[in-house]
């Protein structure tokens, strides 16, 4: 048994060995909700009335009545006593994740989850949280990971990024580590009345026609339109704060490296390395990448258009 397997869940669970072996349990209720996120339809079942209302209020524009659900998530009760009490003040939240060939398991604050990658993909989510804030936090952490894996399967990738739609109706993706300027870019965009899809996590997919597009995201930090919909991706920009504006094209290797470091959850999964690489290589082939050096209050959009036109 590897040390990871031994330690999995130890940060959050009182008895890590009691992580469920199968996707079964006692449901919270009979509530259900179907969401369409980046073209994938998720059916979430077993919710209490309160949990269902929390998700409906959170993501109303992502609800769907389309019956062709591909991914099913069952929500089960977990006892609060199953989880360690953690002082979250000044604490960096990092999930415990166990990567397997055909599944991924995760443990976090007030929840455990097991995603069987299939196909078809399905998941079990055990939580002790029912109050809106706690349930939202627990479920969204799980749902972010689920979305990342779902996208990977469909030739897409979820990126830590800001995505903004320009005046031409095309989106630009801005990537970079924490502090690189994603929030700043998003705020500048909003100030200039451009549509910010999300300042935190964005879904990028290659469509059937080969066009790369960004889908509206239910996930955001401070800014996000929380709308469904899809926009062609015109450019990928790695952010760099500087004294003046400049756009410097990146090579495909630099573009892939920039994107790889911003592909959360799946970029640490050794079983998904090939699929992630393949999707990123396709994106780098089809969408130009560049380093955008920018100042806090400057309008760099004319530079982007100029660079993309050349």
């Amino acid at each position: 048994m590897t040390s990871l397997a031994v330690n999995f869940g130890a940060r959050y669970l009182v008895e890590p060995a009691r992580f469920p072996n199968a996707c079964v349990g006692t449901r919270w209720g009979t509530g259900a909700l179907a969401l369409d996120v980046a073209g994938e339809r998720f059916c979430i079942r077993g919710l209490s009335a309160r949990q269902e209302q929390t998700l409906r209020q959170l993501w109303p524009r992502f609800e769907t009545t389309d019956p062709s659900t591909r991914v099913r998530i069952d929500v089960f009760r977990a006892e609060a006593s199953s989880f360690q009490r953690i002082d979250v003040r000044n604490w960096g939240y990092d999930l415990d994740i166990d990567h397997r060939e055909d599944a991924v398991r995760m443990v976090g604050l007030d929840f455990m989850a097991d995603v069987r990658l299939g196909p078809p993909m399905n998941g079990a989510f055990w939580t002790s949280a029912e109050k809106p804030r706690a349930f939202h936090g627990a479920f969204e952490n799980f749902f972010r990971l689920l979305t990342a894996y779902s996208l990977l399967e469909r030739k897409g990738v979820l990126f830590h990024s800001a995505a903004v739609v320009g005046d031409d109706g095309s989106a630009r993706l801005f990537v970079g580590q924490s502090g690189a300027g994603k929030s700043t870019v998003s705020k500048l965009a909003r100030a200039s009345e451009r549509l910010v899809l999300s300042d935190d996590l964005n879904s990028v997919l290659v469509g059937a026609s080969g066009t790369v597009h960004v889908a509206g995201s239910p996930f955001f930090g401070e800014l996000g339109a929380r709308i469904a919909g899809s926009y062609p991706l015109a450019g990928i920009y790695r952010l760099k704060k500087a004294a003046s504006e400049r756009v410097q094209p990146m090579s495909p290797a630099e573009t892939i490296a920039s994107l790889l470091s911003c592909s959360p959850f799946v970029n640490r999964d050794p079983h998904r390395a090939e699929a992630l690489w393949k999707n990123l290589a396709t994106l780098a082939e089809r969408v130009p990448g560049a380093v955008l050096s920018f100042r806090r209050h400057a309008d760099f959009w004319p530079l982007l258009r100029e660079g993309e036109a050349s």
Partner: protein, 95 residues
């Protein structure tokens, strides 16, 4: 770096060639770096898995392939190899 130091790529990294450049990923931390054509060639020459190769052997192979001053290459490769070792990309074995 002494010429007879043995180099090998760390088992925790994944390395891919993209055109004539390279992308190196530390799987456990998802840290990523892109390397230029000489860096990519250097990494291609350093074995992964069970093999290892001396620093001077890699240097000499690159000298054959690139029109560059030997001292300049040695100095640059030394710095590069040390940086990669510190980053966990390379492992060294003293003879």
């Amino acid at each position: 770096m002494r010429g007879n130091v043995l180099l090998k790529r760390s088992p925790s990294i994944r390395y891919r060639l993209v055109g004539n450049e390279g992308v190196v990923v530390r799987q456990d931390t998802a840290e990523v770096i892109a390397v230029n054509d000489v860096g990519a060639r250097f990494l291609e020459l350093v074995p992964a898995d069970d093999g290892a190769r001396t620093f001077e052997s890699v240097r000499d192979a690159l000298l054959m392939e690139y029109d560059v001053d030997k001292d300049v290459l040695e100095r640059d490769l030394d710095a590069f190899a040390r940086a990669l070792t510190e980053a966990g990309v390379l492992e060294t074995v003293e003879p």
